[in-house]
Amino acid sequence: MAVITFALGDIEKHISKDKFAELAERIGMEIEGITDRDISIDITPNRPDLLDFNGLIRALSYMSGKLKPDKDAYRLKEGTALRIKVSADVKKVRPYIAAMVVKNIDLSGNRLKYLIDFSEKLSDTYGRKRRKLALGIHNLDTIDASSGLVYGASSEGRIMPLGGTKEMSFSEVMEENRKGMQYKNTIANKAGLVPFLSDSKNVLSVIPLTNSEITKVTESTRSLLVDITGTDMKTVNDTANIFACSFMDMGAEVYGCEIDYGKRQVTTPSPEYRELRLRLYKIEATLGINMDNTSAIGLGEMMGYPGAQYGNSVLFYIPPYRVDVLNEQDIIEDIAISYGYNNIIPEPIFHPIAPSYPSQITKLSDFVANVALGHGFTEEINQVLTNEETNFTNMGISNPDKDKVIRIAYSKTENATMLRTDVLPSLLKSLGISTSEPLPQKVFEVGETFSINSGKVFENISLAMATEHSKATFAEIKSVAESIMGSLGMEYEIKAGTNPSFIEGRCAAIEVNGETVGFFGEIHPAVLNNFKIEEPVAALELILIKDIKY
């Protein structure tokens, strides 16, 4: 998602701000904010064409019926404006380029700003932070195109970066220029090749880092050269088409450029309407709306598709900027949008009577929670994300086996570096922040615990219970533990246990079929100190399901 901002004054030349907000929401874009000066709108990633002021106004004008679609709307001017030769080197690092020449363009007012915002946002989102796609916009009048341009790659070369005052080498751009430093990782390659575009005299841009100051575009520039480069041919050509349409909507003339890949030559852009057939029954099958040709064509027009009847189908002409529309299903979604989701009549689903089942985990968790509540313990639900300090250090475990812990690679918060192995640390942490509350405090949680052993991940369901008051003892928690085991109907044995979180000699292990499934006893005073608990605590930790089978 990308948020883009337009001045209210510019919008209101075309449409009132209330209507703008209403229609934008209707086509699925969210208004982020309206001030008395501008409107910010969140554009979903499937519609890069709407990051553009002209594209957005165009879409809303179709939706409101103010504009009727025309499959001849976007035509290039005759003749090739210039030729770009693609070198063998650049094919290894950033193989594709499309370009166009734009004449008689008016960039006054906010137009230049919108054009730059559009290309920045597009390269950031659709272009994956310029890695997949980047744009260069140049003042054509500053370029010597007489013998064509070169799209090449080299480890050496010089450019005066945009906004700079002196020439720099390519490597200086990457080390010292702000944009250079920001985006150099997108072209990292062993040979140190840096893509560039040049005319017979100068390097016009170091791609995708910076343009040259020489070709800088201002509000009074009337002719542009626009280049689009990237790693994916479709993305590059699609983007060229989106921009070509936008320039033509601004009233400018767009000329094609010939790209010479050596073995083959292509002309870009190619803003042509594509034909797609929509079978009417598919609308009903997908949306549940019965629809005839006329209404389907009318709804298509509201999305900017010219359409014509074709038997029991409609032939739609998909505009060149709608790069997201690839098949019938995509058109149906647009038909639903122009129809209005809230106008769709809800239809119940008929089906035979069949029972519904709770999940095994929900059933067991609810059962155990009810037993624990019956013992007077209050339920907690804690996060399973934790850190070593809470899960191990505070529990008196000094050398945990780190290979057996599910660990997070990168976390924005130091409280979340691993998944908990036990529930008890969560309970002790909560008792530690509750010392001002009257005692006794009795708490429990049924929740997920995690571990890993030789690459095998274990997701378990565990129960922990803790009772804190001046006379909390082994005997109290033993009674509870035996009651829980009894209500689970499990055959178990209680043996002397060793666990650093408990006082030695006051800790028992619960064994089922010879395997230790839990511990209970009196919490060690060192652990109480670590959690800042001031009264004795007796507690229990028990695995209810080891290694859940999903």
Binding site: E25, G28, T286, L287, Q329, I332, A369, N382, L385, Y550
Partner: protein, 497 residues
């Protein structure tokens, strides 16, 4: 069971009998005779006094404490005395900063000094005061001497003003307190003592119940408004209760609950859902990738092949298995949904539609504040069937939300795994804003095909934590999961469920 006149306790009755002899008694007498401590005695006395059974004589007691300065002034003389002494010696004293202002103030107040052209001179009364006893000093030393004696009350009454001055000067502190000097029985008390004692039951016991002794005696009555200790019932966690409520609504609509693992590989969390491998949400910034385990193998090779083809065809770019193996914490429960499409996509046609939901934790690599948690709870649902439409999904969602009393509205939205995609929202009067409720749509044909089914799948996902604001009184989401025991004991529900 004890015998005691009605309305008084055994101890009170004993105390009253002790005073019944008629003699005035002191507190110490009572404590000694009854073998009780002062605070117990005071409480019985208060009770009896309220009944008018005894009369208590109280006297004033004074705690007198001379300050260090006070003690020094008795020894060395008050500053004003020392001042006139030195004026007398030198026959006049030039006024300068070295003269003690307190001494000067008092000397003038006493009329001992005058100022003549910048020099202090003694007046006649000043001259006669030199070397004589100073009344303030006399008073201070008698306060010290008589502290604790019977004279002190008289002294304090007579010299009230002067003592006030001494205490203001910080030479002495006097604290006054009331003390019981003697206690005697009243006529009312004698009557009470004479009244026929009755059998009173204070606490019911096994013996009393079994023997039937209760038939012949009364129960000592309690003061029902006396404060008692607060009881804290064990409570279910509010989110558990809320989730069960949501579960009950969906199961009432015929949905079964399914589960899936929290730890997944990117293959199930992203790739199987048609999320392109270079999509920003697959960034370390947003997703919790794991360092142990780093990777989880994709076990179903057939599905792997189909997903690979789906990506190559759909995104027209290379698809790397190594990226799909990356281990992570699920970012949405749609991962459970897609696994169940695989599991339930090819059953006997009579079982359709299959209606499933899963409810559990999902994870986002976020910085945490009162509004944002990195561990959230989500419910994802799917309906797998033969001829399902968007209008069926709208129906299902409307039913669910109308049960919760929410008037849901729909609008288009984009999620890579559905088409058409939609979002449900409602208008919140309090915030004057549309609040998002769920995202959903029809699972893309590309995905259902990769999961090996030709069925249509309706799907949606909803965050549950924020919904709790309507049901649980709380200032923040983090408060709900902080589990401060006081909060767990005291939070209130805003709505029944």
């Amino acid at each position: 069971m004890v015998r005691a006149p009605e309305g008084i306790s055994k101890e009170e009755s004993m105390l009253l009998s002790y005073l019944g002899g008629g003699a005035k008694r002191s507190m110490e007498d009572i404590c000694k005779a009854l073998g009780i401590d002062q605070s117990a005695a005071a409480s019985y006395l208060e009770g009896l006094e309220n009944l008018g059974a005894i009369s208590i004589q109280r006297s004033k007691q004074y705690d007198i404490q001379l300050t260090e300065e006070g003690k020094k002034d008795i020894q060395e003389g008050f500053p004003e005395e020392r001042l006139i002494g030195s004026i007398a010696k030198s026959n006049g004293l030039k006024i300068s900063g070295s003269i003690d202002s307190i001494a000067l103030g008092w000397a003038r107040k006493n009329g001992w000094v005058t100022v003549e052209s910048g020099t202090l001179k003694l007046t006649d009364s000043g001259k006669s005061a030199v070397g004589k006893a100073y009344p303030y000093r006399e008073l201070l030393s008698s306060l010290e001497k008589e502290a604790g004696s019977t004279l002190i009350e008289k002294l304090i009454k007579e010299d009230k003003n002067k003592i006030g001055e001494l205490s203001k000067r910080g030479l002495v502190t006097i604290k006054e307190r009331n003390q019981i000097s003697s206690i005697s029985i009243t006529d009312e008390g004698r009557k009470l003592l004479a009244s026929k004692p009755e059998e009173m039951i204070t606490s019911l016991s096994r013996d009393i119940i079994k023997s039937g002794a209760w038939k012949s005696s009364k129960f000592k009555s309690y003061n029902v408004s006396d404060p008692t200790e607060r009881a804290y019932p064990a409570r279910m966690h509010p989110s558990h209760r809320f989730f069960n409520y949501i579960r009950s609504v969906f199961s009432g609509m015929g949905f079964s609950e399914v589960e899936g693992p929290i730890i997944n590989n990117a293959f199930w969390n992203f790739d199987a859902l048609f999320s392109p491998q270079d999509h920003p949400t697959r960034d370390m910034q947003d997703t919790f990738f794991l360092s142990n385990p780093k990777e989880i193998d994709i076990s179903d090779l057939e599905v792997l092949g189909r997903v690979r083809r789906m990506h190559k065809k759909g995104w027209k770019s290379a698809w790397k298995e190594s990226l799909a193996k990356q281990a992570l914490l699920r970012t949405h429960n749609t991962v459970v949904s897609v696994k169940n499409i695989l599991k339930y996509g090819n059953l006997d046609s009579s079982v359709y539609p299959v209606k499933l939901f899963s409810l559990g934790k999902v994870f986002r690599n976020e910085s945490i504040d009162y509004k944002h948690l990195n561990e959230l709870n989500q419910l994802d649902g799917i309906i797998i069937g033969n001829s399902l439409t968007l209008s069926n999904l709208i129906f299902t969602m409307r039913e669910f939300y109308s049960y919760l009393g929410i008037d849901v509205k729909f609008k288009p939205s984009y999620f890579p795994f559905v088409e058409p995609g939609m979002e449900g929202y409602y208008y919140n009067k309090e915030h004057n804003d549309n609040i998002e409720l769920f995202g959903g749509g029809i699972i893309r044909k590309e995905i259902t095909k990769a999961m090996g089914t030709n069925k249509t799948v309706l799907a949606w996902g909803m965050g549950l934590d924020r919904m709790m604001f309507d049901y649980v009184e709380t200032s923040s989401l983090s408060e709900i999961y902080r589990n401060q025991v006081g909060w767990l004991r005291n939070f209130r529900y805003k709505k029944s469920m």
